[in-house]
Subunit: 105 residues, 2 copies
């Protein structure tokens, strides 16, 4: 997925920024849904719903949070590679992302 030298710079930048905007929106939408799920959990607990129902919904929210995290990391790696001026810089960026995944994944 490295920027090919033949591609016109403007087109590449447009692609990268469209990609960024789309995926930022995707991660934000995921987080907004999670926010709603967490609010729903409070209502479930307060209305005395059985533990199993709450556990199921909590598990869904945790999985959604994990997915949002990995989605964000994937976008960030792709962006870093898009933005890299050369291959060495791209490799350094991917290394950095791998360290973040190791630390927070």
């Amino acid at each position: 997925m490295l920027k090919t030298p033949a591609a016109p710079v403007d087109v590449a930048n447009t692609t990268a920024s469209v990609y960024r905007a789309d995926h930022q929106k995707d991660v934000v939408n995921r987080l907004r849904r999670i926010e709603g799920q967490v609010r729903g959990l409070v209502e479930m607990i307060q209305s005395g719903r059985p533990c199993e129902d709450v556990a199921l919904q909590m598990s869904a929210a945790r999985k959604a949070m994990d997915k949002a995290f990995y989605r964000m990391m994937a976008c960030s790696v792709i962006e870093a590679v898009y933005d890299a001026g050369n291959e060495a810089q791209a490799i350094a960026e991917v290394e950095k992302s791998a360290r973040l995944l190791e630390r927070f994944g």
Copy 2:
């Protein structure tokens, strides 16, 4: 933590319901903080904060969600034991909670 036969029933019930109310409030407070963290994540992404900052905050929210889940499960086990009429019922309730932990933990 089984209810001792010597304890007056009313006192035991009061203890259980106070315990329940306190811990329900604790889990609800944890969830409200998580809701705020998730909202904060949206703002961080929208204001273009670096990936590392977002990853750190996302990791904090995921850990807080895990803690809320285990806290809720611990409360639920203790409540089930409090509420059990006899030892067999208490054991059955603990078994049920262990299965929930296996499934969603």
